[in-house]
């Protein structure tokens, strides 16, 4: 809660300086939120079955470590850490790609940081296949997104970078080819979030890229000292405030392996240079056309309404999805999109800085969003932490989307501020109670959740094909965290793997609605999102005690609607546009050699 402290001071009469002054606990350049309202409650989970989230990182054979800049003197050293879940070899099992970035010192010496691609061995372990893949050192990497941009059935990878992004075409044989130059999607600025989406519904995915600030390794901003380079009285890295922003990019897929930059004509170029971090496409008003939501650091977020014919209108402010409820700007980092209320309208959950709540923008339809962060119970538990990757995910398969969030401060120097804030921070797990509110199970979820880390990207997916949604988190302070979801045995689930034929092959933007036990849930296939990360492209639903799904409706990006059912729960189904459920092999390409 924020109360404005106004003076009793009269102009042109300098009386006593004591009358001039008001206290401001945080007066540095970061966007700072209002304290929580006194009515905000932290609703701990009681009588709610919690899943066990087991840290299986070591057992899974994940040895990757993100490079750590111990002092993080420059903002470019604090922002990397995207994690991409993809089935690159189309064997039906999720593989993992971790991005990596060098320190500034390394970069100035021409040294690179190695990312890592891990192949899923189907037995709970993963093998490092980075070298073979050809994706070891794409760039000064931040995050990325996954989609099949050329509709050949193989998921391709776009890596966002500081100084030029990279598009890897999947060759279908475990290797990737850097096709950036030919495709024309380098951008060249400091890119953070990326997301594929077919905005003109021509059957090929286009690409939206959110750019952060202008930054030059050879003209580095000085560390600390002034205004936007201080935090709580201590010297810290400069930015983003005070640095020049960089506009965003929309690349239109020309169907021949190349893209054209349509940012300006589409109206999404961000000419003012807001500090873009994450981006996601979602059909927010059920028009069948995907809209764009961009989380901007320290600035209002963008909601670009897709008006059709290749044009977008920015309606963030008037829709209520750009700022906190009281109108202050937030340091937005990551985005989760999900129909947590079963209204058929996806809501937006946006992570941000510490001492600020994560807004949960309930979608009330007709482009009206309302921040229900505090009344829903998700606001208060998130308040102390600097939040990044996040996802709506049904952890307990009860049919209601829960929330997971990764945290970690941006300034290592925060330890010296002595204000009960730390560089390493815990994660958040919040369960959906099915009535518009969430309970906080972070403390009850045990050490894997409570262990403080400097976390960034987060992605969710069923890594072990057991019907339970697992969590992968990339940390800047060492190894990632793989949290295996042990699930609730009595609850059922269903997962769909979609393939477009008229629509784009990855079915990005397809809307799936399942009806089971009298409840209809909906989900969309999203590329990008979270914090510069990529979730499982399959669509998973928890079904509670329902062992049968009565009806499944898929609205494809093309506008075609396929309806089928009933289908049995606890299975993976392959669904092809206009054909319904098909054998998985029918939608997976034959590996090349």
């Amino acid at each position: 809660m924020k109360i404005i402290f106004q003076h009793q001071f009269r102009c042109a009469t300098v009386v006593t300086l004591a009358l001039l002054v008001t206290p401001q606990a945080n007066s540095q350049g970061m966007a700072q939120g209002a304290p929580p309202p006194s009515t905000a409650k932290s609703n701990q989970c009681h009588n709610h079955t919690l899943v066990e989230l087991e840290d299986v990182t070591a057992r899974a054979g994940i040895r990757f470590e993100h490079i750590l800049a111990p002092e993080a003197r420059y903002i470019v050293e604090s922002m990397s850490g995207g994690v991409l879940l993809l089935d690159y070899d189309r064997d039906g099992w999720l593989d993992i790609y971790f991005t990596n970035a060098p320190t500034v010192e390394m970069a100035l010496k021409g040294q690179k940081a190695k990312g890592a691609l891990y192949h899923n061995n189907h037995d709970g372990t993963f093998s490092d296949v980075t070298e073979k893949s050809g994706m070891a050192t794409p760039c000064f990497a931040m995050g990325g997104a996954v989609a099949d941009y050329n509709n050949d059935g193989w998921p391709d990878v776009y890596i966002t970078c500081f100084g030029g992004n990279v598009l890897y075409r999947n060759n279908g044989n475990g290797t990737f080819t850097n096709v950036t130059a030919k495709a024309g999607v380098s951008d060249g600025r400091w890119s953070m979030g990326a997301a594929f989406g077919d905005y003109d519904r021509d059957g090929y995915v286009d690409l939206m890229v959110a750019n952060y600030t202008q930054f030059d390794l050879h003209h580095l901003p000085e560390f600390g000292g002034r205004a936007t380079c201080e935090f709580m009285g201590i010297d810290v890295q400069c930015g983003p405030r005070g640095l020049k922003g960089a506009g965003d990019s929309l690349f239109h897929n020309k169907h021949d392996g190349t893209f054209s930059d349509v940012s300006k004509t589409a109206g999404v170029s961000d000419p003012e240079g807001y500090y873009g971090l994450s981006v996601v496409w979602a059909d927010l008003n059920n028009t069948g056309r995907p809209d764009i939501y961009v989380a901007n650091d320290s600035m209002a977020n963008f909601l670009y309404r897709n008006d059709g014919k290749g044009k977008f209108t920015e309606i963030g402010l008037e829709s209520g999805a750009a700022l906190a409820e009281d109108g202050h700007e937030q340091a937005s980092m990551g985005i989760a999109v999900g129909d947590y209320l079963h209204t058929g309208r996806p809501a937006l959950f946006v992570t941000d800085f510490s001492q600020d709540n994560t807004p949960l923008y309930r979608n009330d339809g007709k482009w009206n969003f309302e921040d229900v962060s505090y009344p829903s119970g998700v606001g208060l538990p998130s308040f102390p932490w600097v939040k990044w990757g996040t996802a709506f995910v049904d952890l307990d398969n009860d049919g209601w989307l829960d929330l997971v969030t990764a945290s970690g401060h941006i300034y290592p120097q925060i330890e010296r501020a002595g204000r009960e804030q730390h560089y390493k921070q815990p994660k958040l797990v919040q369960y959906n109670l099915g009535n518009g509110t969430f309970c906080d199970a972070s403390e009850q979820s045990g050490s894997p959740i409570l262990e403080p880390r400097v976390s960034r990207g987060l992605a969710v997916g069923d890594l072990f094909n057991d019907g339970q949604m697992d969590i992968v988190i990339e940390n800047l302070d060492g190894r990632p965290t793989i949290l295996r979801n042990r699930g609730v045995p009595t609850n059922h689930w269903i997962t769909f793997e979609l393939a477009g034929s008229v629509s784009n092959r990855s079915a990005i933007g397809a809307r799936i609605a399942v009806t089971a036990g009298g409840i209809t849930q909906s989900n969309e296939i999203y590329s990008g999102g979270s914090y510069i990360s990529q979730n499982d492209l399959r669509s998973h639903f928890g079904l509670g005690h329902s062992s049968t799904v009565e009806k499944v409706e898929v609205r494809w990006p093309s506008g075609i609607v396929d309806t089928f059912g009933p289908v049995a729960s606890d299975h993976f189904y392959a669904v092809q546009e206009q054909k319904g459920i098909v054998p998985a092999d029918q939608i997976r390409p034959v590996p090349r050699h």
């Binding site: 300098v14 300086l17 004591a18 002054v21 006194s38 002034r226 700022l323």
Partner: protein, 345 residues
């Protein structure tokens, strides 16, 4: 003007300016008239017009900066005081005002550097006070407390001094110490005016809202005409979703001080939440007139207009929000460039 007939004075100075558009004295006085009439945007415009003609006019620079300072807008106040200071670096008032902007605007270290020359030459109490605040805000509480001990030597025996020391600790963001000082003052003199209010504000700063409410109620029992406590009570009730309860307090505060934009902001918010949209829009427009630089006001105004179906007005309000955000961003970029932290590339 001296008789308080500001409308008459406005007409008179406008007449003078019609005949002599470059009359700096008339512009300066017109700025003061607008300030008295709480038309701060016009006042600033008038002062800026005068400064284009005579950029080094001390009184005008001072008055323009003070308008922003009154609204806690240190960023905008700073250039006026910086200019004043550059004209005469020995100007104690200019130095103190510029240092105030720095210390309360998040740059206490720079504030200390600014004040150092004054400290070396038998500083006045205002300078010492600021120095104490700045030391405390950079974590050198002991040095800050030394300064405060020098300023308030009788704090342990004199309730008024305890109160002032509490104020100093409050400004220094040492809220627990400030609470102790205020409690000490109240123990010695339960009727001491202003302490309950100060304690209430102190509790607000540490989010102890129930305690804050008790103190504001006590302050209002002590003095029902305590405008400031009425304001804080109304704002607190608004921010704790007790909108209907908040309205009478805010209206009372507004009656007593029609120039306070924040009162109208909370009144507008309360009315909006009560779905009294026309009244909300009226209050928020008034807040926007009083402080056209506060994005939150325009955001709420836009929201209220949109809810009332007044789309064109909503659009204008949201445009202003975007404009203010952009201005802030530009100012911050410029600040880092000016300070040579980032180069122009």
């Amino acid at each position: 003007m001296q008789e308080g007939d500001y409308r008459g004075a406005e007409a008179g100075f406008l007449q003078v300016l019609r005949d002599d558009p470059n009359n700096v004295a008339a512009l300066g006085n017109l700025g003061i008239v607008y300030t008295h009439l709480q038309r701060f945007t016009l006042a600033i415009k008038t002062y800026d017009r005068a400064l284009r003609i005579r950029p080094n006019e001390r009184g005008i620079l001072l008055n323009a900066g003070l308008i922003y300072l009154r609204q806690d807008d240190y960023e905008r106040a700073r250039p006026y005081f910086r200019k004043l200071h550059s004209l005469n670096s020995k100007d104690v008032q200019a130095t103190n005002l510029l240092a105030t902007c720095m210390i309360y605007g998040g740059q206490p270290k720079a504030g200390i550097e600014m004040l150092k020359p004054l400290i070396a030459n038998s500083p006045d109490n205002g300078t010492l006070y600021l120095m104490g605040i700045a030391y405390s805000r950079i974590g050198m509480e002991e040095l800050g407390d030394k300064v405060f001990a020098q300023l308030f030597p009788e704090a342990s025996t004199n309730p008024k001094s305890s109160f002032l020391l509490g104020q100093a600790h409050y400004d220094a963001l040492q809220f627990a110490t400030a609470e102790r000082d205020f409690r000490m003052a109240l123990a010695a003199d339960p009727g001491l005016t202003g302490v309950h209010r100060a304690l209430g504000k102190n509790y607000l700063s540490v989010h102890r809202y129930e305690d804050a409410e008790k103190e504001f109620r006590a302050a209002l029992e002590q003095d029902p005409n305590d405008t400031s406590s009425s304001y804080f009570m109304g704002a607190l009730l608004t921010q704790t979703d007790r909108f209907a309860e908040s309205v009478p307090y805010l209206e009372r505060a507004h009656e007593a001080d029609p120039s306070a934009w924040a009162t109208m902001f909370y009144l507008g918010k309360a009315r909006l939440k009560l779905n009294e949209l026309d009244a909300s829009i009226t209050a928020l427009k008034s807040a926007a007139d009083l402080n056209p630089n506060e994005a939150a006001v325009f955001y709420l105004l836009g929201t209220a207009c949109r809810k009332a179906g007044r789309s064109a007005e909503a659009r204008v309000a949201f445009q202003r929000v975007a404009e203010l955000h952009k201005n802030t961003l530009d100012a911050q970029k410029k600040a880092l460039q000016d300070q040579a932290i980032v180069g122009v590339r």
